[in-house]
């Protein structure tokens, strides 16, 4: 059984065997489409997220901008990031709803050492199962988007669940439901790509020649996608990675290093055993003892001090 009764797992962290399947047909891949060009920055999505997930974001400080809180936290799984972008004489306000991208090839899951602490359902949603989380922070190193946050209070990692508990009963995520301009859509990934296509055509007709869909292939696509006015330069949007992929360091650490290391240890042990079996122990002989007695005296003149 998976973490959600109605959904089987596609991937499970730190598990050598495939996740147990109930025999259900794989769920249709879902996606959230965030149309940055329609966002007015009202933060209804942030509020809806706090409310649905019963998160208690304590009052912090303001840095004088609209970015509030200034970063994702263990209790703020989504934040609006505001960028003032000058395009010729035009000032554009690029507002991006940041949060987990639900990578199809999730780096957090790859890095996680705790079995079952991170799972990916067959519909593509990547979820943290807090009960299994050990709070090591490896997911932070695995994530190409700098999303997971470790709580000082509970020592567990947190991030957007894509409202997996709503999606499993046929509801859209809380943020999508709350958005007053319908800048956040939710549906099957196929439908969302098709819908993005229409939006991009519209944007292009309005002079945004580089409008496009952000569905980065480096992580095999994401289950949270953006429609960007300037898809040629994603980094304009508060540092959205231009070409996100799992760091090659994480790839080595979680890939070849694991079997090679255990093989090296096993080889060293086996070499020792074989050496002992073929060459035998190295023993002090009677002759050595006699020579020692000759040197030190048979009554033992050896020093007491080391």
């Amino acid at each position: 059984m998976s973490a959600l009764q109605a959904l089987d797992l596609r991937r499970r962290s730190a598990s050598s065997v495939p996740p147990p399947a109930s025999g259900k047909a794989a769920a249709v891949p879902v996606a959230k489409l965030i149309d940055v060009s329609k966002c007015i920055g009202c933060k209804a999505c942030q509020t809806a997220c706090l409310e649905w997930n019963q998160l208690d974001q304590s009052i912090g400080y303001t840095d004088g901008t609209y970015n509030n809180p200034t970063d994702l936290t263990p209790a703020s799984w989504t934040v609006m990031r505001y960028t003032e972008h000058e395009r010729g004489d035009d000032l554009e306000w690029l507002i991006r709803k940041d949060g987990c991208m639900h990578c199809d090839d999730p780096g957090c899951l790859k890095a996680c050492p705790a079995p079952g602490a991170i799972v990916q359902y067959t519909n593509g949603i990547v979820d943290f199962i807090s009960d299994n989380c050990i709070g090591c922070g490896y997911c932070v190193k695995g994530c190409p988007f700098n999303i997971p946050r470790i709580s000082q209070a509970t020592s567990k990692a947190y991030k957007c669940t894509l409202c997996s508990d709503r999606v499993v009963v046929g509801q859209a995520p809380a943020c999508a439901k709350a958005c007053p301009t319908q800048a956040i859509y939710f549906g099957t990934k196929e439908d969302m790509i098709a819908h993005a296509g229409k939006r991009i055509t519209d944007l292009k007709s309005r002079g945004y020649q580089n409008a496009g869909l952000y569905n980065p292939p480096g992580v095999n696509g994401t289950h949270v996608m953006y429609v960007l006015q300037h898809a040629d330069k994603p980094s304009l949007y508060s540092g959205l990675p231009d070409d996100p992929r799992i760091s090659p360091l994480v790839g080595i650490w979680k890939g070849v290093m694991k079997p090679l290391s255990l093989a090296a240890i096993a080889f060293a042990g086996a070499f020792g055993l074989m050496h002992y079996v073929t060459k035998g122990p190295n023993r002090v002989t009677e002759h050595d003892e006699e020579k020692a007695a000759e040197l030190a005296g048979s009554d033992g003149a050896g020093s007491k001090k080391a």
Binding site: C136, G137, W253, H275, P281, N282, D288, E289, G302, S303
Partner: protein, 209 residues
């Protein structure tokens, strides 16, 4: 068995205690570290009270090891400087492995293999300490970038495997070369052992009395 030579003192009680604190810490670190390194070894976390506890305890044992190993380093580093005899010994490593030590230079307290273990662990433990602090998110998460943490994870794992391999060599050598264990358990070795393996050191010890 052989009673015609008196034991030669090799390690003081303080040095032995220092060694065994280091030894126990290193074994506990290897077990808890491997538990978080390879999913197939995750069951080892049960030895430490579960995943969260393993994650909490591992770095603290690391602190104990670092302090304890510093003690060993300060005790022994002057005895581990490389000399010409060590180069000759290394060239004849094949004969040593085949239990044929005749004709090799007389050695001081440590042979070249022991010196390599010493310096190898010294370097690796230093790297493990440095990378380990970077990975110790509970206290140091905010001091480094995520990419520095990724580098540290790779360095930490590589050095740990290196240290485990050296540890295997170290332990096996003590099993293979009979008469060695008593140096670290009771602090002394037989005269015959000292004559056979560390004759120069033996002569110095005899000369002192």
């Amino acid at each position: 068995m052989i009673e015609h030579s008196k034991p030669v003192s090799r390690y003081t009680a303080a040095a032995r205690i220092n060694h065994w604190i280091t030894a126990v810490s290193l074994i506990l670190l290897a077990l808890s570290g491997l538990a978080l390194f390879h999913p197939s070894l995750y069951f080892l976390t049960y030895l430490f009270g579960g995943g969260q506890m393993t994650r909490i305890i591992h770095p603290w044992i690391g602190v104990v090891l670092a302090v304890s190993f510093l003690g060993l380093f300060l005790r022994f580093f002057t005895l581990n400087f490389w000399n010409r005899d060590d180069t000759v010994w290394m060239k004849n490593l094949g004969s040593v492995i085949n239990n044929k030590e005749e004709g090799l230079p007389e050695l001081g307290k440590y042979n070249a293999g022991q010196k390599l273990v010493f310096w190898g662990q010294s370097v690796l433990i230093l790297l493990l300490l440095g990378s380990g602090v970077v990975l110790w998110d509970t206290y140091f998460a905010s001091y480094t970038t995520i990419d520095q943490k990724r580098w540290s994870a790779v360095v930490h794992a590589l050095c740990a495997i290196g240290a485990i391999l050296i540890w295997i060599v170290h332990v096996y050598a003590a099993i293979w070369v009979k008469g060695t264990m008593s140096a670290m358990t009771r602090g002394s070795v037989s005269g015959g052992w000292a004559w056979k393996h560390h004759r120069k050191w033996f002569r110095q010890e005899v000369g002192k009395s």
